[in-house]
């Protein structure tokens, strides 16, 4: 602080607290709503303090789900989300690591073409090519399957660029030393590059896990089998129940359960998360 201005200091804290209230209030409301019986949420104003149905609501959700929305247990949905998120994360990191390695450490025809092809994926988000991508996945027989949920999403320009950037900072002497010691490229990759990339991999893991867990449109398009529903996508069936009114205590409970894993990851690994976010976007 340059000078002492008590008023400015107070204002600073007021702004921060107001921001926190604005960000946390929706989750507070959801958390409270998820602990009440359905009847308590049928007329306004709804309660602002916890009810006593929390345990009953959550165990109903996890074990049996919401009957009006198909009755898929949330435990199944969350497990599907976990598989999908981990599959996407591991897949993206693995194929990006090896393609960045090839592009940085080898000279071969069409190298730049491959680089630009990977770059092009940045410009083609799923949202703009919904139908044709759906057709491709359908013709490969990958609808309603874990590979269908995971593989089409694992190309990653961001991860490839991040690793490429990082590999460029590794001193050439390491390669020379490895070659003098008669280590081949794969040995060099495995014994030297991978251990050096550990922090970058960990930081990227957090960002990609959140990305994978929060997928919505893709699982919505390619899963019609209830056993493969993911939780972020599944909540939509509880909100849009057609004629009926959404069962808000269950819907809010689902929202809370769906946000716990990624939020926990961010909070527990805060330092790595910030590094991963700021660096992967350059």
């Amino acid at each position: 602080m340059v000078e002492n201005r008590p008023l400015a200091a107070i204002l600073t804290h007021v702004v921060l607290i107001a921001g926190i209230v604005f960000l946390c209030f929706p989750v507070w409301v959801a958390l409270v709503a998820s602990t009440h019986p359905g009847e308590a949420l049928q007329r306004s104003p709804i309660p602002m303090w916890f009810g006593d149905q929390g345990f009953a609501n959550y165990s109903q959700l996890l074990r049996e789900g919401v009957p009006a929305a198909g009755g898929v247990p949330l435990s199944t949905m969350m497990l599907n989300s976990l598989f999908m998120a981990l599959g996407i994360t591991v897949g993206k990191i693995a194929i990006s690591l090896i393609s960045a390695f090839a592009i940085v450490y080898f000279r071969f025809p069409f190298r730049m073409l491959f680089f630009w092809l990977i770059f092009a994926t940045l410009m083609l988000p799923v949202e703009v090519r919904i139908l044709p991508t759906y057709d491709v996945v359908a013709s490969l027989g990958m609808l309603n399957s874990y590979p269908g949920l995971i593989i089409p999403l694992i190309a990653s320009a961001t991860a490839t660029f991040l690793f490429r950037q990082f590999f460029m900072t590794i001193p050439d002497e390491l390669v020379e030393a490895a070659r003098i010691d008669r280590a081949g490229p794969l040995r060099f990759f495995w014994d030297i590059l991978l251990p050096l990339s550990r922090t970058n991999i960990a930081a990227l893991f957090i960002i990609l896990f959140i990305y994978g867990w929060n997928q919505y449109l893709w699982p919505f398009l390619i899963t019609t089998d209830q056993d493969l529903y993911t939780v972020v996508m599944g909540i939509q069936r509880m909100v849009n129940v057609g004629e009926g009114v959404p069962i808000w205590n269950y819907t809010m409970g689902t929202a809370i359960l769906a946000m716990i894993p990624p939020v926990l990851v961010v909070l527990v690994m805060q330092r790595l998360f910030v590094k991963g976010l700021v660096e992967s976007e350059k």
Partner: protein, 294 residues
């Protein structure tokens, strides 16, 4: 771009890039090409035959009032989300940058919404604004006498999705603004303070201009987010309604193609959106290249 010292191997590099290139070609390039091709055809109702129609799908789109309105909605939506989330994030980042005590605690409470899926953000606000039992709708009614009903009022529905989308994006902008603020040399600000510049003046004449690379980067990222990643918010809550009031372009591609089954038109919309993303990505990367020299 490349190392001075490299390995020599005839086939290994191809093997290493193969998985990524295969996924890219099959699930990105090929569908994009398909969309481009389909956009020049009109299919009959039964899907038996299709005719090459040149640009008819495009001319039809731009003659369609609904589509032009969707352009406008997207623009209003994108600019509002960007402005709201960036201005709030900047205020928070400036405040967090001043705080010495409890800085980590504040930061922790401000960054977690990044991890909340857009669809969930939408559902949370949808519940709070629910006309019959939402707590905010109740307060609006009680305090300001506003009759909130996003089921019938299009502007209110648009406002609802704007707030939900902005809410989710604040953490992201906050982190980047904070990183930007921390990289500004303290000596510049101290020098200005010695010259008698007030905090407000220091902010607008020194801090804000020095932040401009971050601001510009976030501007592009936020617009891309608002144009494309917010599909989930709209699909999970308003479903584009009422009467298409929240039907932004990405939602329209989906509703024309999947719900309306008009493949030619949906493909033409895809192509228009692709051009839009490509343009925005180019702007973003050209800017980053300049930032390296900055």
């Amino acid at each position: 771009m490349q190392k001075r010292v490299v390995f020599r191997n005839r086939w290994l590099p191809y093997l290493l890039v193969a998985p990524q290139i295969a996924v890219t070609l099959i699930f990105f390039i090929w569908p994009a090409y398909q969309a481009l091709e389909t956009s020049f055809f009109v299919e009959d109702v039964f899907g038996f035959s299709r005719n090459f129609v040149w640009f008819e799908n495009f001319t039809r789109l731009f003659a369609d009032k609904g589509y032009l309105r969707s352009f406008w909605t997207t623009l209003v939506f994108g600019l509002s989300v960007t402005f709201l989330s960036m201005s709030m994030a900047l205020a928070l980042a400036v405040a967090a940058n001043r705080v010495l005590k409890a800085a980590t605690a504040y930061r922790t409470f401000l960054i977690w919404p990044y991890a909340v899926a857009p669809a969930l953000a939408g559902v949370l606000w949808y519940f709070m604004m629910n006309p019959s039992l939402g707590i905010l709708a109740y307060m609006l009614e009680g305090t300001f006498g506003v009759d909130w009903n996003h089921y019938v009022n299009g502007n209110q529905a648009l406002l609802l999705v704007i707030i939900a989308a902005a809410w989710k994006q604040i953490s992201y902008n906050f982190l980047f603004f904070l990183a930007g603020l921390q990289s500004i040399p303290k000596s510049l600000i101290e020098a200005a303070a010695i010259d008698g510049a007030s905090p407000t003046r220091r902010f607008w004449t020194i801090v804000f201009p020095l932040l401009s690379p971050t601001t510009f980067f976030l501007l592009v990222v936020n617009l891309v987010y608002a144009f494309f990643d917010t599909f989930a918010i709209i699909h999970a809550t308003t479903n584009g309604g009422p009467a298409d009031a929240t039907s932004i372009l990405v939602y329209k591609v989906y509703s024309t193609g999947f719900v309306g089954q008009d493949y030619g038109s949906s493909a033409a919309q895809s192509v228009i959106l692709m051009v839009l993303v490509i343009a925005m990505t180019v702007v973003q990367f050209r800017f980053i290249e300049r930032k390296v020299q900055y």
